[in-house]
Every structure is written in C-alpha cells, then in structure tokens.
Symmetry: C2
Subunit: 268 residues, 2 copies
C-alpha cells in the first residue's frame, strides 16, 4: 500500500470521521483486548491514532509501538496520543513489509482496519507473524461492507455502497475482507484462530448509534467517494444523491441499519 492509495483520503473530515467511529465502537470492538503489564505490542498501521488511544488506555502498562506508512498520519497520531495524555506508545513511520524489527521482537501484534487496504493481506500477516514470539498472539479487526443491509431497502443505496467496494478494489484493497479473516489467519500459519463477529444493529431506540454509526461513520464514509464514483461514471450525480439520501432515510423513526465487524485472534 502506498500512502496516496488510501481510499478514504486524508482530509480533516476523514480524521473526524475516524475519531467519531472509534468512540462509538470502542466497547464493541476493543473491550476484550487487554495486554498484560510489561509486554511489547506492535500496532501495525495506526493511521492517525484513532484506535491507538483506545488500545493504550485499555492496556496502560503494556509497551506499545505504533507504526504507519504515512509520516503525516504518524505525526497526527503522536499529537492525538499526547493530547490524551498517553505515555506508553512509541510512534514510528515504517512500511509493514520492511519493518525495522528483529524476528520475535513482540509479544503481541494488533491490526485494525488495515488489511482491507492491502493488495496482499496474506503476505502482510506472514510478515507480522515472524515478529511475534512463540505463544504470542495477533489480533485483527476489519469491517465488511457486504454485511451492510437496511430498512427501507434501496437499490440506489446498495449501488452507492458497491461504488466504495469497487473503488477500494481498484486501489488494491478489499472492503469485504471481514468474512475472510479465518482463512487468512489460518493460511498465514497462525493456530487456534478464533473469529467473533461484532454486529452493529441500529434502530430508532438507539439514537447514539443512529448518529454515531449510521450517519457519521458509515454513510459519511460512502459519501466520501462521491466525486471519484461520479467522475468514473459509476453512478450519475442524481443516482448518487438518491443513494446517499436513502442511506440517511434508514435513520428515520422506522429505519434500521445493520453492519458487522469481524475480530480475529490467532496464536503463534
């Protein structure tokens, strides 16, 4: 992955989106990841640090090393961690495929929302496995845009989501990778692989999720590829606006929105 292939872009709006997402989904995705005192953890692909701050707070006595290929993202992650008073993370700009660490340097590896952007996630997992001590673990969290469905159903909304999936594929990624975590980790040589789905179910009785997930996370993410999708002739502007409108429509008093993240843990 090269820095400029990141399909969601690097805007301030995108950083806010990731921050909102991180807060709303913190418990669902992170509550069961706690590393013991003194162990060394590599966070591979920290981006602007949205997950890093959660990881660091949940394991305050672990020593975390967070890397990302984008020096600009690393700089912002460092700022964010500082602002949150986090002291147990060292940041470093580095390429996942040529990391400056000796084999077995870490007790555990943590990878969140990264594999979906890589042309060869299997190779990334094999590389990361060499860095983990025997008995250590890898934890991987990814979404799956094919797990999104909603009421009222809408062809235009489904087509808009499909644009994001196709654009991410053109950029070398896979927005449907969540469902594949089990075979990916097994193929990469991890053992005792356990995958648990984390479904986000949103209806009008859960207003924080309507706002924080359906609107500000998922629909905002789809809306973010508008110009590219239209420029490439994937949808007309009118079709696109209809699709986004229909996604917002699922936030109404009778609307429902479903999405599933997948969390996998494997052992070395």
């Amino acid at each position: 992955m090269t820095a400029n292939s990141y399909v969601h872009g690097y805007s301030a709006g995108e950083a806010k989106r990731l921050g909102d997402q991180a807060r709303t989904l913190t418990d669902l995705l992170h509550h069961d990841t706690r590393y013991p005192a003194g162990c060394r953890v590599l966070e591979a692909g920290c981006g602007t640090g949205a997950q890093t701050v959660i990881l660091a707070k949940n394991s305050p006595n672990a020593e975390i090393v967070s890397i990302d290929i984008s020096p600009e993202s690393v700089r912002r992650a460092e700022e964010r961690a500082k602002a949150e008073g986090i002291k147990n993370v060292k940041f470093q700009a580095a390429d996942l495929f040529s990391l400056p660490f000796a084999p077995g340097s870490f007790d555990h590896v943590f990878v969140c929302f990264v594999l979906e952007h890589l042309p060869d996630p299997g190779r990334a997992l094999c590389t990361l496995r060499t860095l983990v001590k025997p008995g250590g673990t890898i934890t991987v969290i990814e979404g799956d845009h094919g797990s999104a469905y909603f009421h009222p159903d809408s062809t235009a909304a489904r087509r808009a989501i499909r644009c994001l999936v196709d654009l991410q594929k053109e950029a070398g990624g896979n927005a449907l990778i969540g469902r594949e975590l089990y075979p990916l980790l097994v193929s990469a040589g991890f053992s005792a692989v356990q995958v648990s789905p984390r479904m986000v179910y949103v209806d009008a009785s859960r207003p924080a999720l309507v706002e924080g997930f359906t609107k500000q996370t998922f629909t905002a993410m789809v809306a973010g590829v508008r110009d590219e999708a239209i420029k490439k002739g994937m949808m007309t502007p009118a079709e696109w606006e209809r699709g986004i409108e229909d996604l917002y429509r699922t936030c109404g008093p009778d609307g429902v929105f479903c999405y599933t993240f997948f969390k996998a843990v494997g052992t070395v």
Copy 2:
C-alpha cells in the same frame, strides 16, 4: 396465509430440516425466553412443533397454548410434544386472524418463523396485541435471508438465495422481514420494543454449525425450492446446481458462512 402457500412445503424432509434447525439454534434463539410459573402463553403458528418443545421445556410451569392454521401440522406437533414428554402445552388448529380467544386472554405471546409467511404481518401483530393483558409481552423471532453472505462469494449462490426470497414474496411472504421487526412492532402499538440480532457465524473451527446450520438448515432450505425455481425459469438447472454447489463450498476448510436472526420483544 393458507396452508398450501407455505413455501418450504410439508414433506418429511422439511420436518427433519426444521428439527435439525431447532436443535442447533436452540441456545442462540431461545435461551433468554423463560416465562414464570402459572402464566398463560400463546404460541401463534407452531407448525410441527419444532419451537414448541423448546419453549415448553424452557418454561415448564407456564401454561402454553400452541395454534397453527394447518390441522396436519398441529397433529404432528402434538405427537412430537407427546414423544418429548411435554405436558404443559395445549394444541389447537386455528387461524391467526380469527382466533377463538377473548381479548386479554394471555400473559404473553410468542411468534417464531411465522410473520415471514404472512401477507400482512402488521395486521397479525395488531390482532395478537389484543389478546395480551396490559403489562404482557410479545416475543417475535424471524430470519432475514438478505443477511446471508459467505466466502468464497458466488453470484450463482446469491441468485439461488434470491430465488427463495422471490418465491416467498410470490406466495405473499417476506424472507427479509428480520430487519423490519422494530418498525413492525412499533407500528402495531407495542411499547418498549427491543430488537436483538442473533448472528450465526460459521467457519471450519465450528463443525457442528457447518453441519447443522450451513448444510442442513440454510442450504437445505434453499435447495428445497429447486423444482419451483427451475419450472418458473428463474435459473437454468445448470446455474441452479452451481449455486447449491457454491453454498456447500462455503463448508470447506477455508469457507465462511454468516446469517442473522432477529429477536424482538415488545410490551402491551
């Protein structure tokens, strides 16, 4: 709903399929439904009793009345309950829309895999609501075939599932009803409606679910509409066989299958 519109048919194989399904999914769907001693519960649409026996065992001191529109199904449900030694259920053949019970006759109503087959599930819910005493509850469990996705992905498999959805729609039902339970119950006048999704995640590390759910429940159910789908020209026989083969393919060592049931509870 008329008896002969039941899209899954009434064969012995279908009865076995429902029995297998009930056993595999018992905990996931039923563990949190326990009715107190002495209360009266109506099970509306008991079919051949696959859910009835679970319901009755989980609430051994509740008085359950189980009805179904098909006298033949009621007879078989009665046999099944007798074979399982169940004594707290009375069976009765009756139409959901003209039930022989006075308003407020029941403390609770339980409806499982029934609304998906009704042309007007909203009217059914309104009718059932009148039978519940103030403070009583309705519990509804339904699947949603649009929640099925898998690895490896397959256009033919998705088309075969779509045939089942379309055939069920032609018969007046809605195989995508799971996601709609919240607005349906709210519209029918229930309050404090709470929906919880029950996702079935299946990979090779969960062989009982590979066998009991992906193969014997979901794929068997899709395979059951083969002749009708082909007769109506929805798919060619070759396309159909490919679709079913691809669903079985998700049972391989690197396969994954996902499906979500929805359980809703509302108060009168």
